[in-house]
């Protein structure tokens, strides 16, 4: 891969970048759980308008969307002919990028799933 190209095409892709989207899901999930558990246990009630939660959720979705978009662009970098299953650097990159994109899709849905209870349930019972 040449070093030229747009900034997001130059980003280095590794096993660590592969797990960014699900790691964001995990962070959001853990924060949601801790926030609910601690506010119920310590304050005895759930925040009636969870602004912090809304901001956090939007932020998580944006970050997952961004990593998905970068992965989408990188999965389309021109190189070897299809089916892109050769032992070349570009095919390895395209594979990791595509997997990241798929994980971003799953993580996006996962964050939405986590957000739903806050819409429907507003108390600590």
């Amino acid at each position: 891969m040449s070093e030229r190209g747009k900034w997001h095409e130059r980003l280095k892709v590794t096993l660590w970048t592969l797990i960014i989207p699900p790691a964001i899901w995990a962070g959001h999930f853990l924060a949601s759980y801790l926030w609910a558990a601690i506010s119920c246990a310590k304050a005895g009630r759930f925040a009636s308008f969870p602004l912090l939660f809304v901001i956090g959720t939007v932020l998580a979705l944006l970050m997952i969307g961004l990593s998905g978009w970068i992965a989408w662009a990188q999965a389309r970098l021109p190189g070897n002919p299809p089916p892109h299953e050769d032992s070349t650097r570009i095919d390895r990159l395209r594979f990791l990028a595509k997997s990241t994109l798929l994980l971003a899709g799953l993580s996006f849905v996962g964050v939405l799933f986590t957000a739903l209870p806050v819409i429907f349930l507003r108390d600590c019972r």
Partner: protein
């Protein structure tokens, strides 16, 4: 050596002779057990796990027979409690998890074109630990001393010594020992997948089995340690009366449930994914085409791994947690159906798009998918909290979990058994017996477990030793019992098939006409793993690369020789599998076995409260481990580089992040840090459960001064070790030794300072959960300071003995990795126990 040389048959024969000599197994009645080659250790491992499975299966049959008719008295309630506890615990800890490790130890080097995994002796150590721990736990039932609190051992039933006997200790300590061996296997497998792939096998060409194993091994690192943390607290309560789970003294039994299920739910996927990974290998073979949707499988494996850590509370839906918390876990439990479904569709699509060869392994694979899907669907049902409130602790759950585990673990393993038997023994199993057994298992499983859905919904609770006839459950239970016997008969048919194998003729090489590397194995098994390490250009090299098998066999790829008489394999880079070095592998040795025996002594002697003997055993373990490391690792090679063919010359020594040892240390410490986070979770869990934590009367301990001093000592020791590494690399060896010596002294001082806080404030750990958890954290950090001192002393000794120099500094670099984690432990521990009471 050029490509040309290999045309000479005499040279090839000489090379083979050298390789054969180097990889020759030790012989003799006793010495043969010192072997550490993956093909032998893996087979012992598989056979042992299979034996435990049969044993646990017999326990289940006794239970089913007891439940066949109402008011039966075949076994009493006490025995029945031991039966179901041991059945569940053995199937999980002594069969499912070890079986995946065992199969991987056999297959992974073959799949990766490596001669062996990077740490063969560690595999052997893991096996012996598993065997000792397994016999200890499993054998307890013959002494009427088996654990009887259910496989998740809920306190206070199990922590109160007046309610449960030695069995609880046997469970905790015996299985903790097994968990150690699982973490050891995880280290081995992760480093194997990341660092020992053949040149050219970039991440996008890795066999999907290896992807699954990588994911599962990482899951073990984050799933098992919370249970180890839980085990520590549990045994502190049972042996020393520290009240972590005793509500009268500020403890909380729910803490155990959290720690157990943070392990317990990922555990389900830890045993499901490797089994399904076998499908990813055999489905393409029998569909006669590449697997469709390779990245989708990676999505499924990685996605499942993450989501599985957000499910644990769905085992605790009826504990009275706030509904909002339940809903988060319910949502994640529903989400995990997505990646699970994706991989099933990938397999179906591949079969649909290919030309299917119907075979016995494929029959098992498709049958198990059908069973698994039923278990998955009831899983979606019980993930809905209101439904779970109705079904919780009933036979409905028993039905669900057995559908999942039989369809998702056991039957896929039988598929793998029929598929890979020729790889291990050179002989095929009988298709006829295999198919007869399959239908017995398939019908038997459904007949056993489908009626349990109904008996559960009709109100039959799990874990009852009998039921009255008036409940009208007799017919359903009789059906389940008949199904269980049919299932057992199916397993017996498989055992017959296996036992007939030695009398059968050898199969041809690669009998299924598969495309992946493991089928290079020859029916007349050689011990060297692979004749030469190939250059990989495809996911299915045997299908796609011209003359591939011949080139491997004739040594036309890399490392076709063992000139120096050493066991070797190639280390490559993580992403692109560029060759980095040749490493020398461990040879057969008694040390792993002795270390396992000594460590086993620590756990087993503690069970019987023989603390002094346990301490002696602990010291012996340490001495053994140091002896093993000193004589077997980070050896300075006789020459810096060696040629591996095709004009390539690779170094014989690596240190730092490119070395397998560095990764092993990093991975081990990830597990250690996760266990530590489980203890920290305990501290803050108590804080959320109490209006005042620390309680006002106890809040003056451990004070701020001692923890802050200990923190300072820990950070200073860490910085000095870092400094030692840097000046050492710049060839100031004496300066580095001085740094290490001072760092060692600071670490020793850190032990005292860490314990002085709770000690000088007279904190009584039996009085309340607060002093108990503070003491536990302080002891944890102090123990890590002790290990830091040992490691610093070890590096110092290596330097003084001339076994470490500025070029060959792997020991020091590995110690530095430990010190990063030690610093983190010190910061979090002392900030928590020293500063947190000040701010609340």
């Amino acid at each position: 050596m050029s490509l040309h040389d290999q045309d000479d048959p005499a040279l090839r024969a000489a090379q083979e002779e050298r390789l054969r000599a180097v990889w020759a197994p030790p012989r003799g009645i006793f010495l043969r057990w010192t072997d550490c080659n993956n093909n032998r250790v893996g087979v012992w491992y598989v056979l042992t796990a299979f034996g435990f499975m049969l044993f646990a299966g017999v326990l289940a049959l006794i239970m089913r027979t007891q439940l066949a008719v109402p008011d039966n008295d075949l076994v009493g309630p006490g025995t029945f409690n031991q039966l179901f506890t041991l059945h569940g615990s053995m199937m999980m800890f002594l069969f499912a998890v070890p079986m995946f490790e065992a199969v991987s130890i056999i297959l992974l080097p073959q799949l990766l074109g490596a001669r062996d995994l990077p740490f063969p002796r560690l595999s052997a150590f893991g096996y012996w630990s598993f065997l000792i721990g397994g016999l200890f736990v499993g054998g307890s039932i013959f002494f009427n001393a088996a654990p009887d609190g259910g496989w998740f051992m809920y306190p206070p039933l199990t922590t109160r010594t007046d309610l449960s006997g030695l069995g609880a200790d046997i469970w905790m300590l015996g299985l903790s020992f097994i968990e150690v061996s699982s973490v050891a296997a995880a280290v081995e497998l992760i480093v194997g997948v990341l660092k020992c792939r053949p040149p050219g096998m970039r991440l996008n060409l890795m066999p999907l089995y290896a992807w699954y194993i990588l994911v599962v091994a990482v899951m073990i690192l984050f799933a098992f340690p919370p249970l180890i943390a839980g085990d520590i607290l549990f045994e502190m309560e049972r042996l020393l009366d520290w009240p972590f789970f005793d509500a009268r003294r500020g403890g909380d039994p729910l803490l155990w449930q959290h720690l157990f299920w943070i392990f317990g739910h990922p555990e389900v996927y830890i045993i499901f994914l490797p089994s399904i990974a076998l499908f990813a290998m055999l489905v393409p073979t029998f569909a006669n085409r590449h697997l469709l949707g390779y990245p989708w499988i990676v999505l499924a494996a990685v996605g499942t791994a993450f989501l599985s850590f957000g499910l644990w509370v769905h085992h605790m839906f009826t504990t009275g947690l706030p509904k909002i918390s339940l809903a988060f876990f319910s949502a994640a439990s529903e989400a995990v159906a997505i990646p699970t479904g994706v991989q099933i569709f990938v397999f179906i699509a591949t079969l649909w798009a290919g030309r299917v060869t119907w075979s016995t392994p494929l029959l098992y694979a498709t049958g198990s998918l059908a069973i698994f899907v039923i278990g998955g669907l009831t899983g979606v049902m019980v993930a809905v909290a209101p439904f779970d409130w109705q079904a919780h602790d009933s036979y409905f759950v028993v039905a669900h979990l057995h559908y999942v585990l039989i369809g998702g673990t056991l039957m896929p393993l039988f598929a793998g058994l029929y598929y890979y038997w020729p790889l291990v023994t050179g002989k095929k199993l009988s298709d006829r017996l295999g198919r007869i057994a399959f239908w017995m298992l398939f019908v038997g499983a459904n007949l056993t477990f489908f009626p349990m859905h109904l008996s559960g919904l009709m109100g039959m609770p799990r874990r009852v030793f009998t039921y009255p006839a008036e409940l009208g459950l007799g017919g359903l239970n009789m059906a389940s019992t008949l199904g269980a016997w049919l299932f057992a008969a199916g397993v017996a048919v498989i055992c017959v098939d296996l036992s007939l194998s030695p009398r059968r003729v050898r199969a041809v090489r690669n009998p299924w006409n598969a495309g992946t590397l493991e089928w290079l194995a020859h029916p007349e098994d050689e011990d060297w793993g692979i004749r030469s390490v190939p250059l990989i250009e495809s996911r299915y090299p045997i299908w796609d690369q011209t003359d591939f098998v011949r080139k491997v066999d004739e040594g036309r790829f890399f490392l076709p020789d063992a000139e120096e008489g050493r066991r070797e394999t190639i280390v490559t880079s993580v992403l692109d599998a560029r060759p980095l070095a040749v490493i020398r592998l461990g040879t057969p040795s008694i040390k792993p076995m002795l270390t396992a025996v000594a460590l086993g002594g620590v756990f087993i002697l503690t069970t019987y409260h023989l603390y002094w003997a346990a301490l002696v055993s602990g010291v012996a373990t340490l001495a053994m481990a140091l002896w093993w490391l000193w004589t077997g690792t980070a050896e300075i090679p006789e020459k810096p580089c060696k040629p591996i063919g095709h004009g390539l010359e690779l170094p014989l020594y690596l240190s730092g992040p490119s070395a397998p040892g560095w990764w092993a240390m990093f991975i081990t410490m990830m597990a250690d840090a996760t266990a530590f986070s489980g203890l920290i979770f305990g501290y803050f869990f108590f804080w959320t459960r109490h209006a005042d934590f620390p309680p006002v009367a106890l809040a003056d301990g451990p004070g701020m001064a001692w923890p802050m001093l200990a923190l300072f000592l820990g950070i200073a020791s860490w910085l000095l070790t870092l400094g030692a590494r840097e000046v050492h690399a710049r060839k100031h060896v004496d300066m580095a030794r001085l740094c290490l010596l001072v760092a060692l002294l600071l670490s020793l001082a850190g032990i005292g300072a860490g314990l002085a806080g709770p000690w000088t404030h007279g904190m009584d750990p039996q009085a309340h959960s607060y002093p108990a958890i503070v003491w536990t954290l302080a002891i944890w950090a102090a123990a890590h300071a002790g290990v830091a001192a040992i490691m610093q002393g070890y590096a110092l000794a290596r330097s003084l003995a001339g076994r470490m120099d500025p070029v060959h500094d792997a020991d020091l670099r590995n110690v530095t990795v430990y010190m990063h984690f030690y610093a983190l432990t010190a910061i979090v521990t002392y900030a928590t126990i020293g500063l947190f009471p000040q701010v609340t």
